[in-house]
Every structure is written in C-alpha cells, then in structure tokens.
Amino acid sequence: MTTRWFGAPVQRVEDDRLLRGHGRFTDDIGEGALECCFVRSPYAHARIRSIDVSEARSALGVVAVYTAADLPFGGVDLPLLIPHPNLTHGRTQRCLASEVVRYAGEAVAFVVAESRYAAEDAAELVQVEYDPLPVVITPEVAARAEHLVHDDVAGNVAAEMLQEVGDLDAAMVTAPHRKRLRFRYERGAASPLEGRAVWAQWSAAEHKLTVYDSTQSPTSIRGGLAVLFGLPESNVEVIAPDVGGGFGPKIMLFYPDEVLVPYAAMQLGRPVKWTEDRQEHFTAVNQERGQVHEVEVGFDGDGRIVALSDDFIHDGGAYTPYGIILPIITAAQVPGPYRVPNYRVRFRDVYTNATPTSPYRGAGRPHACFVMERTLDAIASELGVDRVEVRRRNLIQPDEFPYAVGVAWQDGNRVVYDSGNYPELLDRALEMLGPRPGGDHVGMGLAIYVEGTGVGPYEGAHVQVLVSGKVVAATGIPSQGQAHATVWAQVVADELGVDVKDVEITSGDTRRFPWGVGTFASRGAVTAGNAMHIAAGMVAAKAKQIAADHLEASPADLELVDGRVRVKGSPDRGMPLAAVAVLSNPVRYAFGGGTEAATQFASKPRPGPPLQGGEQPGLEATGYYSPPGSTWASGCHAAYVRVDPKTFRLEILKYVVVHDCGRVINPLVL
C-alpha cells in the first residue's frame, strides 16, 4: 500500500461549500413551504381553562391552526424512548397540551401560515386562559413534595435507583476519617447555533413522506413517523442535512414539531417548515445538568478513599421522554479514574416544573466528575496533603485493566474500563502546565476523568465502487461538524487502495442508509467508523474474488493498490477497480469507465450461471459494527486561574488538556 490515509492530516472536504455560504441547513431548504409558529405556555404550571383559536384561524395568511382537539393523536402521550425497570413513574407530554401545562414553553397551539410573519401574527391572536398552579422549580423543592408536578406521582419521584459495591456501612464505620459534603450543579441549555428545524413534504402520488430534520438521529425519526402515520418505513425518508451543532438535545425525539410539521404537510398537501427561534430553544428544547449531591466519604490518613456514599437528586424536568439515562450515567461515573472499593450510590429522578431533560454535552458526566474532584480537594484540605498527591494515591494503576467498577452502565452492561494510563495523564498535564504564575489569588484547577464512549448498539455502512472507479459510502448517522465525510473517506480509502479524494461519504440520509442509531455520546468514529471499515473490507474481498478468475491468481495473492487489483509481487498483473466494478454486474451491456478494461477479460467465462449461489451483483457491500461495550476514554484538565477578590471575576491564566483518545484518524480535526 503506497499511502496510509488513517492517521494522516487530510484537509476537510466539507469546508469549501460551508465557507462559500453553500451549506444546506434545514431552514435553507424548500422555499415556498408553509411556515409555522407555536403558541407556548408562559406559565411553568397551570391548568388550561380554555383555548380560543377562532380569531387566529381567520387571520390574514393563515392556513391552519391546530390544538390538541384537532389532532387524531391529540390525546396520545408522546413515546417514552428508553424505558427502565426503575423508572416506575415515567411521564411524557402530548404534542399539544389541552389540560395542564407543566413547564413554560410547553406547546399549546400550532399555527400554519403562508409566511413566518403571518404565523407569528396569528399566534398572538390565540386566546388561552390559564389558572396558575403552584410551581415546583428546584430539585430540593421537588423532593420535599409540598406540591406535585403530576397529580398521580407521589413525592414527585419518577425513578429511584440504589447500587452498592463492597460493604459501604462496614467500611465507613471503620474509616479513620469521614467527611460529609454537599454539591449543587446548575441547569444549562445546549444552544447549538442552529436551533431545531423541520421541513416536511407529502407526495400523495407516491404515498411518500419526506422530512428534513435538524436531528442527531434521522433513522429513529423515520421509524417513529412510520409507526405514527401507519406507513411502511420504505415510504418515509428522513434526511439530516447540514446540522449546525447538536450537543445532545437533537438526539431527542419526538419534539412536538417533529410530529406536527409532517402531519400538517400530509393534511394540507403542501410542504411545511418550522424553524425554532432562540427564545423557544431556551424554553422548549431539553436541558440538563441540575443535580444536588449529598456525599459522605471515608478515607485513611494518607487520603486514600475507603468508602464513598453519594445520594443525589436529579432535576428531571416536567417529563421523562428520554428515560433515566442521565442519572444512571452520573451514578456510574462518580468514581471516575479513582479506586473506590466501597461505593453506594442512590439517586432520585424528580419532576420539576421546568423544561424536560435529556443528554447534553457530557450527559451526566460533568456533574459526576465535579463531585469526585471536589471530594478529593476536601480530603486534601482536611489532611493538609497536596491535592495532586491525594489524586495520585487514589488513581487506578495501569496494570489494573480491565477494571470493573461494579455499577450499571447506560447500555445495560456493567462498567468495565478497558484501558488507560491515568497517572501518566496527570504527569503530562502537570508538566505542560508548568510552575504556578506569581501574584495573589491564583489557584490551580485540576480534574481527571474517564468517559464511556463508542456506546452501542450498532451502526452500519454501505460501500460501493462505481464503474467509474469512484467510491461512494453511506451511513445512517448524521454529522454536526465531526468531519464524517473526511475521516470515513480515509478509512474506506485505505481498505480499497484508492485516493481519499475518490471516496464520497453520505451520512444521515435514510434514502442512502436506513439503519442505525444516531450521533451522540462520542460514538460516531467507533461505531460508524468500524462499520465503514467492515463494509469496505467486504468490498475489497469481493473485488479480489472477482478479479482472481480473470487474473488467474488466488484471491489471497491479490492486493488493492492505487485504484487497481493486482498480484502481490507482480504489480503489472492487475486490473482497475473500475473494471472489477463492471465485471461485478453480469448484464449484457457494460457501462462506465471500466468497460474497456473489463472487456479484455470477458473472454474467460465461468461455467454455471452468471450469478452463482449467494453472489450478488455490484461491487458493493453493507457491513455493521456492534461493540461489545463502551470504550473508555480518559483525560486530565489543569488550569491556573486568578480570582478577583472583589468582583469574583475569573481570569484563566493557563489551561491544558491531556486526553487519551486512542488512535487518531485525522489530527487536523481533533
């Protein structure tokens, strides 16, 4: 092989059109579509007394106004995506609320008009009468349960889960030192710069629904819409075009608009588009992070942890559409890179009158890391031992892998760290950080973490060599800037021995690849990247099989180099991949760039039918990769920060990151 693309600094192929303003984001698509506006609750908790849309319906430019009463599925709860036995009181919202609203921003009515301006004008004419109800707004208040978010959920507790490793009570009682700590982590919004957006078109002639969605999971949206509208999946196409950042909340489905926009398009027989504005994003798109942790830690005189108990409340928001993945991840990741021989963790996922929660950038992990690192700081402070030294004494050592933490992971498996060298992360970070700068009020921040990535269940890929010799490849998961089109081209190019420029990648388009899960949890390179590798390997094997007959060689003696299949050691004995692609399809007529090269070999027919048992036409293959479990990344961040003692303004003087990311496919896009 003359060139190895894996690991090479290949410039991104995505950049040119994005830089020229020729990107294709959902709101850029489909001029002439009807546009929409939601009427959303201004109250965090209220009973709806009445909704009057009559004036809005007759407003200029309005095509339709929907309330729950107008929808055949108006009384149906949206799906609960990831059920769990501990989620005993899961609740999801409806597309449009008709009785009670449980967070400010919950959708009540949906206006479709000739333009966004007309839709917004009409939305202001919708009259909703509310009776405000008592509001439950923090996890602590929710846990006190003086008021309920859902009348039928006592204590506001959606889920509770208790896990224990070792013998916590015995270890805690005998611990030389004990300390109780309380940590609070605030909520936040993801706020990708492109908000959410959906465009839909129904073709009555073809009985086909086409949806463009700024989503992290077009394959799941397709599956869900097919079920909801009673269509075969083959009649639903979902495309995530360019997506302007996701960061988690775009993996959620369904948001009400993802159902209502396609529904309106089918009802009205015209394309319909909805584009979120920033205010809606802050209220109606899932958020994350709100947790309160009560920790007790037992440790010895050297600062080694012997027991850790964490009882935390997770602010779930008003509904649990995404199950309890977030607190499960937090519970699993509190110990992080440190040995915690006796660990008890309990969480309660509580309802609040706030926007629902689902994964956002880290998905439960930053809170866990914060809890552990602050606990270690407290131990260091208590004993008067250096904070770095306390960490060093507690770190899992390189010879301890695989390391079983003993708690449940988000995929249903147990947490087992596969590899790592945590002490080296710390050493390297401190070396890079260097000596502490002079001056008053300068402190060091230090955190070491592990991160479960590459989570399953699977992804797939289709790879095809065209008769031109060019290669096209597709996978189901979309890109939000991760350079899929560049890095997967590198993976495929290596397997097929072609130039990376000759490989064109499509991602996130169910027309090209209908199966898969989504882009989230740092999983794309591991899952879809391996699927690309597998599918391209299958194509390479097929190319050798086909070429072997014509080159009178064994497939094992062939190699794919420079766009050709050739005999190892005899580079002149070979044929172009393009010609193999022509030969792979035994029709009477041959088309394409490889035709001439192929015909000289056509005089050597095989006995038997042109396609023999199990053979398929085309130089193509579909492959899947399903990981046995997560692969565990790790890293260390360290910083020197100056604090202004009067204003508390923080100034970051130096910040370094060491991250063990495995084998790098392309250093330019790290």
């Binding site: 040119d16 020229r20 303003g21 709101d27 301006y117 997506v243 302007g244 920033r278 991760q482």
Partner: protein
C-alpha cells in the same frame, strides 16, 4: 440596494428583516440566523464595508447602501477568499453554521486592521459565537488570513498546522 454588486429592490413589507430578505427573498442562505437578537453574529454581513447584524436591520434600511454577503466573497469555481482559505487551513470551522458570520466579521476587521494585534483579533471576533468552541483555531485563522491578504507573505504554510494534505 446593491447586494454582492447586483441592484435589487427592497421588499414591499417594510418590517421584513434584512436577514430574512437576503435568505428568503434573494436566496442568499449563506447568511445564517442564530438568535435574532444581535448576540450570536451568525447573520453578519458587510454594509458599505463594515460588519453589521442583518437580523437587527430592516431590509428597507439598506436602501441606497451596498450589502456584501458571504456568497459575494469568492465566485463559484474560483479560489476561496483569503479569509475563507485561512479558515479552511486552520480548521476554524466544524459544523459551519457560525462560519459565514465569522468570515464576514474578519473581512471587516482586516479591512480596518490589516495586521491586527492579538487584542484586536479578540475584539474583532468578540461579536460572534461558536458553540463547537473552536475559538483557538479561529484566532489562528485570523492571523493566517492577515498573512494571506498581505501580498508579500501569502504563501507560507498555516500556523501550527503544517504538513496538511
């Protein structure tokens, strides 16, 4: 108003935002809308050469002025504008949604300060947000753009990213 050198009539609706007019009336969808209240900078265009937020202007206010959008920087098929080229070389974009706004801000910055100091670079891009958090690369790209825009030293490799293929 003139947009990318071509004369257009303003929209009939006086309340139409310049950003909506560019995107939905003229089809120039390279100008993005991220917040609609002047915070994120995605909608930045040049008005008579100076960066402005097209979401904070009515289209009719641009009458008699010259608007340049990201599509007006380099003709299709021709090489990228030096600022676009610098963003490419320095990996200063990921999802690409904030990119046109950044590029237009930097074009405006370099017109005013052809050799900006680090502080001028920070001030020049302070009005643009990148949620993929690629600011370090974007800073590098601004310096590289200044190099590429200078006729004397345009040909050396990108800073800190040498060896790219």
């Amino acid at each position: 108003m003139k947009v990318n050198g071509v004369e257009h009539s303003p929209p009939a609706d006086p309340r139409r935002l310049l950003s909506d007019h560019l995107r939905h009336d003229l089809g120039l969808t390279g100008t993005h809308v991220g917040c609609e209240h002047g915070v994120c900078g995605c909608c930045t265009v040049l008005l008579d050469g100076a960066p402005v937020r097209s979401c904070l202007m009515l289209a009719v206010q641009a009458e008699g002025h010259e608007v340049k959008t990201v599509e007006g920087l380099a003709r299709d098929g021709s090489p990228l504008h030096p600022v676009q080229q610098a963003f490419h070389e320095c990996h200063a974009l990921q999802c690409g949604f904030c990119t046109p706004g950044f590029v237009m801000s930097v074009v405006g910055l370099l017109a005013q300060h052809p050799h900006p100091s680090p502080q001028e670079v920070d001030e020049g891009i302070a009005g643009n947000l990148c949620r993929c958090t690629g600011y370090a690369s974007i800073r590098r790209a601004v310096s590289r753009a200044a190099e590429l825009s200078s006729p004397l030293v345009g040909k050396s490799g990108p800073q800190g990213r040498d060896g790219a293929r």
